[in-house]
């Protein structure tokens, strides 16, 4: 695997849309060609090389390419946009849309990431060592197709509206999550190892939420359904089981109505 390292040298005055920073866009290119890829600052299109030093040539394919992003990228959006293979390491804190529409490969964000990360993600892995913003693994504005595959691990806290319209895949938050979890979801799984705020599973059709800590306010649309012993991500424990959202439509599978599940560790 070949490694391309891009290091911020001229920080943008406005937010920078760097939708070409991915193993896919870099694949098969020499450092000089990568520096010529387009980025957008406000309404101005310029080159990646204007903002970043580029060193190293990419591999022949995305799978053979590792991209390392160094320096202050707090104002850089769309890192890992639509990536399908390979690796992306972001050493600092990045802005919105990290790994948005990604289908494969691995992203490691060593700092925090902004909102809308992994929007409509279909596959691959996103690991965040810091905190994630709002709308992690959610659907794009207006769309009904959120994250449908892959795995997200947030070692810190996550913001609000994570897993909105989620269809599949898995989100694990080691810390706390803010309001609205898996709203409108029709599949997938979210594990919150810390505390959750309120409005978990609002209008949820299908899917599963686990909460290890406390839930500030329960949704009135979830109904107690007994207690169960489960092993969740390596932790064996007893969970209170709730089904819902009772106000939403639910499909029948083999004659049995399928609800959304909410498990709270006892």
């Amino acid at each position: 695997m070949e490694t391309v390292t891009i290091t911020m040298k001229n920080a943008p005055a406005l937010y920078l849309e760097a939708d070409n920073v991915s193993p896919d866009a870099f694949a098969g290119k020499k450092a000089a060609q990568i520096a010529e890829l387009s980025v957008h600052e406000g309404n101005t299109t310029s080159t990646l090389g204007k903002y970043f030093d580029v060193s190293g040539d990419a591999g022949a394919t995305a799978a053979d390419t590792k991209v390392v992003v160094r320096g202050d990228v707090k104002k850089v959006k769309y890192l890992g946009f639509k990536m399908t293979a390979g690796e992306l390491v972001i050493e600092g804190t990045a802005d919105q849309y990290v790994g948005a529409w990604m289908k494969g490969g691995k992203i490691l964000a060593k700092g925090d990431i902004g909102a809308f990360a992994a929007t409509a993600m279909k596959g691959g892995e996103l690991t965040v060592e810091g905190n994630a913003g709002n709308y992690l693994g959610a659907a794009y504005r207006g769309d009904w197709r959120g994250m449908s595959g892959g795995k997200i691990l947030v070692k810190g806290n996550a913001g609000s509206d994570i897993g909105m319209y989620m269809l599949g895949g898995e989100i694990i938050v080691n810390g706390n999550a803010d309001v609205h979890v898996m709203t409108h979801a029709e599949g997938g799984k979210t594990i919150i190892k810390g505390n959750a705020a309120s409005k978990l599973g609002g209008q949820m059709v299908e899917g599963t939420i686990f909460v290890f800590g406390s839930i500030e306010v329960m949704m009135p649309g979830f109904k107690p359904n007994g207690e169960v012993e489960l092993e969740v991500d390596g932790t064996k424990a007893k969970f209170a089981h709730f089904i819902g959202d009772m106000g939403e439509r639910h499909k029948k599978k083999k004659g049995v109505v399928v609800y959304g599940n909410l498990y709270k560790k006892i």
């Binding site: 659907a139 794009y140 504005r141 207006g142 769309d143 009904w144 439509r249």
Partner: protein, 568 residues
Amino acid sequence: MSEYIIKNGHVFDPVQGIKGDKKDIAIKDGKIVDKVGSGAKVIDAKDKTVMAGAVEIHAHIAGPKVNLGRIYRPEDKLFSCTPTKGMERMGGGASIPTTFKTGYEYAKMGYTTAMEAAMPPLFARHVHEEIRDTPIIDEAAFPVFGNNWFVLEYLKNQEIENTAAYIAWLLRVTKGYAVKVVNPGGTEAWGWGLNCLSVNDPVPYFDITPAEIVSGLIDANEYLGLPHSMHIHPNNLGNPGCYETTLDTLKLAEGKKAKNKFGRESVMHLTHSQFHSYGGTNWGDFESKAKEVTDYVNKNKNITIDTGNVTLDETTTMTADGPFEHHLTGLNHLKWANVDVELETAAGVVPYIYSPNISVCAIQWAIGLEIPLMMKDPMRCYITTDHPNAGPFTRYPRVFKWLMSAKARETQINAFKHKDKVLSQTSIGTLDREISLYELAQMTRAGPAKCLGLGAMCGGLAPGMDADVAVYNFNPDKPVADPEDIEKAFSRCAAVFKSGVQVVSNGDIVSNGNKRTLWVNAKVKDNPQVMRDISEKFIKYYSMTQNNYEALGHHFVPNPYALEVDAT
């Protein structure tokens, strides 16, 4: 104005009966002429196809429900935005493009005239503001009449003359073009939580049937002698078995004759016939009844139809058939918007994905192609996608490919997940007809223009007609190696002229042309009763005053072109 001569192209013009002969087309002062001077600018059309500008007879491209779709579907613009380029302003949207993108996309495909198929009269001002902001193409809008309280009350008492006077007034104040009917009576019934699924279901309160509304509106249309016929989206759209309602609706035109000075011969235009040609009793035994519907239309010369081809895309459905959209959101569970337009109509909007992996969608695709392949007279069957309902209008080149190439249809059939079901529920697999370029010109130019009463103005290349001309990178002398070449050629014109101004060159927009709004100014005898009824309804029921109703002046209709009708 400049003079042009389009030299050595293969010309297809049904108006003059020209079937691909090499011919020069001369343009002067916005019109087609016999000859031009030696200083005329030469456009080399050698090995290219030359046709008149195409005429869109039914699309939803301007107005409140289109805009509602744009507002509540930001995801439609997600990866479909185009930046400013040369003459072109930025645009966006795949199934509900912005006004500017709408004008550019039509022009690039060689379309120069388009009809907005459903204008809520109350929001005529909004419709005209969007038409004004859609560059290049001439446009007109059809106000909806099939659920209008005035119409329901007058036709309940068989008052054709009063209905006609009301239509003439409404066309004038809304700058409208034709009488559009959507789910007659059913949309009004929707206000009561009901629907009219057959032509004999009574409309609540008004106690009139869809059959009486349709028959009365045809009579009023011919009393006035309007350029276009009554244009109908019948009851029971989109349901298995709906073809029987369609045939009942078509039979209402029996014995009725067109009376007008525009050369139109039909009295009823059945729109998006694909959605109205379904058999079966549920989605499991859903099947095509394209043969039954086209057999009837083939025999009855006073009826014209358009297709409503499903293009197998993700799109946005929108119609004044409010109850249907509610039904649809119950089927696909996607977001639903509904609007009531006081006294007049309603509308609903729901996104829809026509997936090639769903058997119903694949059968709908087949029915949309069976209809034009089964119609004997291409002058009475026009290509539409009921944009955006069955697919975006930008897919016309793909529909042309499927119609012109049996091989392209076969490729698509083989790609369906439920291929066997498509073949057993339709007869698409047995149809080997391939639409010729001449027939395509009939179905997209001369035919719709004649049906709209615009046959003397556009849709052909005879001297004296408007110089709307499209030149395609398509050599009819060469066998088509790959059907994809058809789609490619019809997607981007080599050159397009609109009223004698070159608007497209090598697929790029080079001018915003001189866009016009077409409308019909129908004069009737003074009718104090209808005028009194109108002012009374405004005082009693409307939430706005009559003074604020009219779409008047330069702001709304900066470049009007009125077709004059005298029914006094």
